[in-house]
Amino acid sequence: MKTYRFYVPVLLVLIFSSGRMVAQTAVQTDASVDIMPTLSLTEDQSLKFGQVIPGSSDGEVTLSTGNARTATGDIVLYGSTNQNAVYTVAGIPGDTYAISLPATDVTVSLGEVNLVISSFKALVSSVGAEAVTGTLDATTGRDNFTVGAVLELPAGTGSGHYSGTFSVSVAYN
């Protein structure tokens, strides 16, 4: 009987100690999730070249990242409805990220007519200049950038509203 009583407490201690190890592992799991919040990207404003009137020869309309339009030849820039695309990035405070803009031509179209848009550039708030990387705010974890591009406008382009889409990506550096 005496030997029987001796074994029971030992078994209990072993069970408790292994229980504590399991609890510690679980805490580490939670911590690894908190370290990497999602990097999010939202479009606040779309890219608009505004109203343009084709010239007598093929030309280009440039929308700078500061929302200034310039044109070649006798293309006429009309009205003031042009605007840069604006994006907000959110993620780990203080971390840097890279911006990917379309490297190949994209198009806006009306019916079967396509107009080519290229030379995308981003003005990054955290950098204060055109850049391909940015730094998320140390407190808010946010940054934003504005995008400009170049539109090719052939002579004789028919009037109307041309529209299209392009892809923008951000990734942690």
Partner: protein, 170 residues
């Protein structure tokens, strides 16, 4: 079993992390290609038939087609009109006008005499004429003043010439 389950959970969560480090959005872009301004002359700027008499003077046609004279000029009962143009452009756009700033000449049909036309004026308001929302058109009238000397310098006959008007978007 518990340890294996937790370890599996850690591996699963870590495998998700790379997917969260890059994100893309599809941005929208657009451009409005507009039509150029065009204009068609629908009525000639016509001073009508006049008699300069002894000393000549001026004949003015206002944009709304009124004709008045100064000096010794007698206005004959005849057809006369302001110049009229139908301008076409983007609906609801503003079109401004540039008129000749220097004297334009009307030449006698035989080429031997000239009459000066100057002081062109239009009914386009300051800031431009608003093109109609419905059809993108607007009517514009132009008047001017004719300066004529006596009948000796400007013999009777048919005098004609041209003037240039520029319409453009504001």
């Amino acid at each position: 079993m518990k340890r294996i389950a937790i370890f599996t959970l850690i591996v699963f969560i870590m495998s998700l992390i790379p997917a969260y480090t890059q994100t893309s959005v599809i941005g929208k872009m657009e451009v409005e290609v507009a039509v150029p301004v065009t204009a068609v002359e629908t009525e000639l700027l016509n001073f009508g038939k006049i008699v300069p008499e002894t000393s000549g003077g001026t004949v003015q046609i206002s944009p709304d087609g009124e004709r008045t004279a100064t000096g010794s000029i007698t206005l004959m009962d005849d057809t006369y009109s302001a110049g009229r143009f139908t301008v076409a452009g983007m609906p609801n756009s503003l079109v401004s006008i540039v008129l000749p700033q220097t004297p334009q000449m009307l030449t006698l049909s035989n080429g031997n005499s000239e009459i000066t036309v100057n002081d062109f004026i239009s009914d386009v308001p300051v800031g431009g004429q608003i093109v109609r929302q419905s059809d993108g058109k607007a009517e514009v009238s132009i008047g001017a003043t004719l300066y004529i000397s006596n009948g000796l310098s400007n013999p009777a006959g048919y005098y004609s010439g041209t003037y240039e008007v520029v319409f453009m978007y504001n």
